[in-house]
């Protein structure tokens, strides 16, 4: 699915060889040095954040949560009642999402998440949001015409399936619990987690399959 993007590669190349950083990079550098001097942020905290979000924190965290919800009915109940509390048992390092709501798909209901204001997203369990999630087009259209947006993601819903669009805020983020696919009976959590896609936890992918590894 990922393809070579010549312009992107050229951009990275230019970035590596240009001596003077770009205008926004210099603005960030100015802010960082001032905030560090004032003691508002510690350089090691910033380094740890960047390393964590570049290397360690990603959708595999959310996939583990979904897999457990599929295999442990009591956990699923706790997750749907209070997701932030329920995911504590995973012991994810770093601060997890403080206020999190899990919404479960069923044969008659489909959930999808958006942030119409900016880009609120459950970073601590899904990693960085995809570029399209942050686009103004998705932020506007996900609410206005969710079925059409879903079709563009390749999700065709029967008319009787209700679509629920959840607008994330700074205070409350969402994760979609997709339906467990048929043919996965007896699978353990790790094997199940491997078939859970990031988009299925945002709600722009609906039907997971046992083969999609």
């Amino acid at each position: 699915m990922t393809r070579f993007d010549g312009e992107e590669a050229a951009q990275v190349h230019r970035h590596l060889h240009a001596h003077l950083p770009s205008d926004p990079a210099l603005r960030v550098k100015a802010l960082e040095s001032l905030l560090v001097e004032r003691g508002m942020v510690a350089p090691e905290t910033l380094d740890a954040w960047v390393e964590a979000y570049s290397e360690h924190i990603g959708p595999m965290r959310g996939a583990q949560v979904v897999a457990r919800a599929w295999t442990d009915p009591a956990f699923r109940e706790r997750l749907l009642a209070n997701a932030a509390e329920a995911i504590k048992e995973f012991g994810f390092e770093g601060h997890a999402t403080g206020n999190l709501k899990a919404v479960a798909n069923t044969p008659t209901d489909h959930n999808m998440i958006v942030c119409t204001l900016c880009s609120c997203y459950p970073f601590s369990i899904l990693g960085m949001s995809p570029a399209w999630y942050k686009s103004s087009e998705y932020r506007a259209r996900a609410v206005r015409e969710p079925r059409k947006v879903l079709e563009e993601f390749g999700v065709s819903l029967d008319p009787e399936v209700a679509v629920h669009v959840w607008d994330s805020t700074a205070e409350l983020r969402y994760i979609v619990i997709p339906e467990r696919p048929a043919g996965t009976e007896g699978w353990d959590e790790a094997r199940l987690a491997a078939i859970v896609t990031r988009n299925s936890m945002i709600g722009t992918h609906r039907t997971l399959t046992a083969e999609a590894e």
Partner: protein, 113 residues
């Protein structure tokens, strides 16, 4: 834009530019430290994104991260004692430091301001 680009483990890097990561790290740290609230950050970023859209900026990740920097400057001025002029001067100082440092050597800020 709506390509299901999705694998579990993204093949492209999480951040295309180092400053993208640094900017979000600064914002998240300011929220975590209590200098600004999560709501203030969301509102300020939302306003910067609206402004970018109104000005006709393309709907791209680059535009998004430029709005992040814009919002970061705004919350820094409103949430700390750092002033706009100081940010501007510091940026100028870094620019001069880069331009006067031979390639390959560490860039050091010489002025305090």
């Amino acid at each position: 834009m709506f390509k299901p680009d999705d694998p579990l483990k993204p093949l492209r890097p999480q951040f295309l530019e180092g400053w993208h990561a640094q900017a979000l790290a600064l914002a998240d740290t300011l929220v975590t430290n209590g200098a600004i609230t999560a709501q203030e950050w969301a509102n300020t970023l939302g306003a910067a994104l609206d402004e970018a859209e109104r000005s006709g900026a393309p709907d791209t990740e680059d535009t998004y991260y430029n709005a992040v920097v814009q919002a970061l400057e705004t919350v820094t001025v409103t949430g700390t004692d750092i002033k706009h002029a100081e940010i501007k001067n510091r940026k100028k100082a870094w620019t001069e430091a880069y331009l006067s440092t031979p390639h390959g050597q560490p860039v050091v800020l010489r002025t305090g301001g």
